[in-house]
Amino acid sequence: MAEQLALGGFGVVLLERGRWQKFSETRHDELRSQRTTVLGNAFGPDDQHDVRLAQMADGSFQKVLPSEGAYNNIAACVGGGTFSYGAMAWRYMERDFRMRSVYGAPEGSTLEDWPISYQDLEPFYTKAEWGIGVSGKAGANPFESPRQKPYPMPPLPFNREASVLAAAAKRIGLHAFPIPMAINSVPYQGRPACIGCPHCVGFACEVNAKNSTAVTTIPRAIATKLCELRTGCVASRISMQAGNKAAAVEYFQDGKLYEQPCRAVVVSCSATESPRLLFNSATNLFPQGLGNNNGWVGRNLQGHAYSGASGIFEKDLFDGLGPAARVACCDFNHGLPNGLKGGAMLANEFICLPYLYARSVPPQVPRWGIQHKRFVRENYKRTVGVKGPVQEMPVFECRVELAPDLKDNWGIPSLRISGHRHPHDVEVGKFIAAKAEEWLKEAGAVTTWKSLPGRGVSGGQHQAGTCRMGSDPKTSVVDRNCRIHDLDNVYVVDGSVHVNNGGFNPSLTIQAIAYWASAHMLKELRGA
């Protein structure tokens, strides 16, 4: 957004609660990586300044810190989640935008069609792929919806396990292809190609071959001299003029409260924090929070119901070549049997680092002791995981809302998270896990075990849905251009606007929507 608005000639102030981070600060410490944050979030927010309430299995709420899973954190640094993400760069499929029309909503779900189509978004997917930099092979995925332009870079080559899986896929009629990744396979935009290190997902890239917004769009925005990035700035409130117009954003920097006047506000804080800012900006006209007069802000929190299987092979397939995730198939994104709605792409996993591996042994292996140690030693290099992000059925009761009597370090009211994933997701998960297991067995796995989603509230790194995009203000928060219904100049642009979250990692779709929304915003700003 900042890049497009600044390139369009408008002055932009980018308020980032985190700071610029360098690889040298965090390096390759698994225990601080974004996947295993046991010693804290390397990329923020830290455990000293933020807190939320999360609903436990018995329905009660408990305080959780940002480094704990139930907090559902998204990194807080320049580049946000993209600074340390795995960087799969998927387009959703045509049918992902028409889920209700294709399948009908299951009972207890608010499943709906998007107000925009894949065709609407297609040129902006292309913009994102070329602007951010995606490596991949156009045409290799027969299920992909039509694209106008190929990827700007060839795909990363298969590693050992991807080659074995791709050959097996062919034998059982699956259509395997290289995963599109926002990682340079060749030098691109002045940054080098990936060096194949094993520390990819969850880490900063040591050579800047991973295409976060911190190394692409944000520096380009700043280079226009029209965009000022202010780090360490925690937005606390959008202040409104009389009527439906935002006048300024209030934020804390170094403990002091500041106000930045503005013509328009773009809220891009994640599907948990964006609703929080709207709640905390309540006025007399919007007593439940901006855009929330119909009670939809913070609702339909979703992520992905990850499902799949792991398999042990007779030979070592581990070659240490990151990001190990290199092969996928989209045979099970749609058209599943037994009335199952949606589905998931299946891909081999990123390199599972030793601590995480030790904590995810199959159920029949003891959790500790000599047998556990032997299992880890004998199988670490022979284990392959295939998993998929099962598209979730949105549930109105899955939500974020303000927590009563809980504030962060700046005195800003905090969130609480509650709800249960739809049972249908678990059914799709079972199907997807069985398919992953079949694929692994065909590839030569001698022992396999499944991983299935539970019924807890979903969100995590793929959090989405809490400021739904829609045509009807009664059942959505923003319009098709990401502007909050009833407000003249406040936009939400992040995963919050997703009506549903596809069977794919969502980052490229979020970026495509940012390009889409900025095109609209530029028109509005110029017309005004």
């Binding site: 698994e30 010693l39 040591e206 240490g320 030790a358 030693r377 290099k381």
Partner: protein, 163 residues
């Protein structure tokens, strides 16, 4: 009533300095606690052809992190260790750390079988922290000489890039 012990300044300073335990100074545990933690860690990852948790210095990972990012678990350790010590005395008449290895294992299996409800969550915490200290980066105080990465044959891969 406890006995009043009068110490001079020099004795006090010595007592206040960090206790030393085997391979290094401790920040969180007393020497007695350290001995017990080390025995527990070695049950989680025993030595065989390759080093176990004790040789890999997992105790020092836990001790150091409890004074840092894992500080919120410190009370659970002090309480858990004293409960475990008492439970073991009650059941076996001996200190856990003095029991033969296999009897220690049996005692811990007993905890898992539900024989000491209040110790289960503490034992799970020790298991998790031991895995972190053994398999995580040596920079955090455990995994001495990258013992676990050698065991897995991934030292080059893990350390081959600037760490």
């Amino acid at each position: 009533m406890g006995k009043l012990v009068v110490v001079n300044r020099r004795e006090f300073l010595i007592a206040a300095a960090l206790p030393l335990y085997a391979a290094g100074p401790l920040q969180t545990f007393s020497g007695e606690e350290a001995r017990l933690v080390e025995a527990l860690c070695d049950q989680v990852i025993p030595a065989d052809d390759s080093p176990g948790a004790k040789q890999a210095g997992v105790l020092y990972y836990i001790d150091r992190q409890l004074a840092g990012p894992l500080q919120r678990f410190e009370p659970a350790y002090h309480g858990g260790l004293s409960n475990l010590r008492r439970e073991c005395q009650d059941r076996t008449g001996r200190d856990f750390a003095d029991l033969p290895f296999l009897e220690q294992t049996k005692f811990l299996e007993g905890i898992e079988a539900g024989r000491a409800e209040k110790l289960i969550s503490f034992w799970r915490l020790v298991i998790d922290h031991t895995m972190q200290g053994f398999y995580g980066s040596p920079a955090n105080g455990g995994n001495r000489d990258a013992a676990s990465w050698d065991m897995l044959g991934i030292r080059d891969v893990m350390g081959g890039h600037s760490h």
